[in-house]
């Protein structure tokens, strides 16, 4: 490519009559790419369908349907039984939203119930089949549905130490289908946790928030927030309960 005619043009979408047009120099285009200010296509990693095509699984699964991934068996180990089979580096963008549902929580089931959804740095070879409580050093965030109608959110520092945790109890969680949401905003490097005691995302209420310091963010996620390969790991209780409708998307 020589310097002459070094332009990129964008055509208007004539069929819909929307969109815009413009002309950019190649220099401007490459500068924008290098500085990561050029708009890129949003990445959406939709794990719903929750089937095995999106997850590496271990063991026997009581339910592996289009919307539910639930571990089989009567006991409630906290082993990681499913890990997303693709990793993301900040989802190719710096801010993201993770939506999911735990089926339900309960009261005084013992042991209870090991139902987690975590963002980890483990890949399938090192993370799956391992007790989530024993791989704390792999975890960035951990969402848990636990005893006493409890929902819990924890941010870890990748060494197993909690930087922040929040806990919210509501007897409404005894019924399935309550949405949970975690957002990560960049460049503020802020995690925000929402739960809903109703069954609609309209019911989501913020219950926790933590902002990484600059040094924490750089060490854990890189200066651009996308230097780390991240996975979603799931451990679930038995029966027909489980984790549902997981969607992890750039925002």
């Amino acid at each position: 490519m020589n310097r002459q005619g070094g332009y990129i043009g964008i055509n208007r979408t004539t069929a819909s009559g929307i969109g815009g047009s413009g002309v950019f120099t190649m220099d401007a285009f490459y500068r924008a790419i290098l500085s990561e200010t050029w708009s890129t296509e949003f990445s959406v990693f939709n794990y719903n369908y929750m089937g095995s095509s999106k997850w590496d699984l271990q063991g026997t699964w009581g339910t592996n349907s289009s919307t539910v991934l639930a571990q089989d068996g009567a006991s409630y180990p906290t082993f990681v039984r499913a890990i997303s089979n693709t990793s993301q580096k900040g989802l190719n963008a710096s801010s993201w939203t993770l939506d999911f549902q735990f089926n339900k929580t309960g009261l005084n089931s013992n042991p209870y119930p090991g139902q987690h959804l975590a963002i980890t740095k483990s890949d399938t070879s090192s993370g799956i089949g391992t007790d989530l409580s024993l791989v704390a050093g792999d975890k960035l965030i951990d969402c848990e549905a636990s005893n006493n109608y409890n929902m819990q959110f924890t941010v870890y520092d990748f060494t197993g130490t909690s930087m922040y945790s929040a806990s919210f109890n509501d007897s409404a969680f005894s019924v399935g289908g309550h949405p949970s949401r975690v957002t990560f905003d960049f460049p503020t490097a802020t995690f925000t946790w929402y739960v809903a005691n109703g069954t609609s995302t309209d019911d989501l209420v913020q219950k926790g928030q933590y902002t990484l310091s600059t040094s924490q963010q750089t060490a854990m996620l890189g200066a651009t927030g996308r230097a780390r390969d991240l996975h979603i790991g799931v451990s679930g209780r038995g029966g027909t309960d489980g984790v549902r409708n997981v969607v992890w998307a750039t925002t």
Partner: protein, 56 residues
């Protein structure tokens, strides 16, 4: 080994709380523990006692 978060959860009385870090002293606990459920207070003494019990 259990930590102070496990201890607070095990006490289980507060319906809504937040905790920064993993406090190891009463001063750290009081500075970093926010209990939004004022009718069910949790003190450092309770949390530490529960933690010691869990780690026995």
């Amino acid at each position: 080994m259990a930590n102070i978060i496990d201890a607070i959860k095990e006490i289980g009385t507060s319906k809504y709380w937040e905790l920064i870090g993993e406090p190891a002293t009463e001063a750290e606990f009081n500075a970093n523990f926010t209990n939004h459920d004022s009718s069910n207070p949790i003190t450092w003494t309770e949390a530490k006692a529960k933690l010691d019990e869990l780690n026995e």
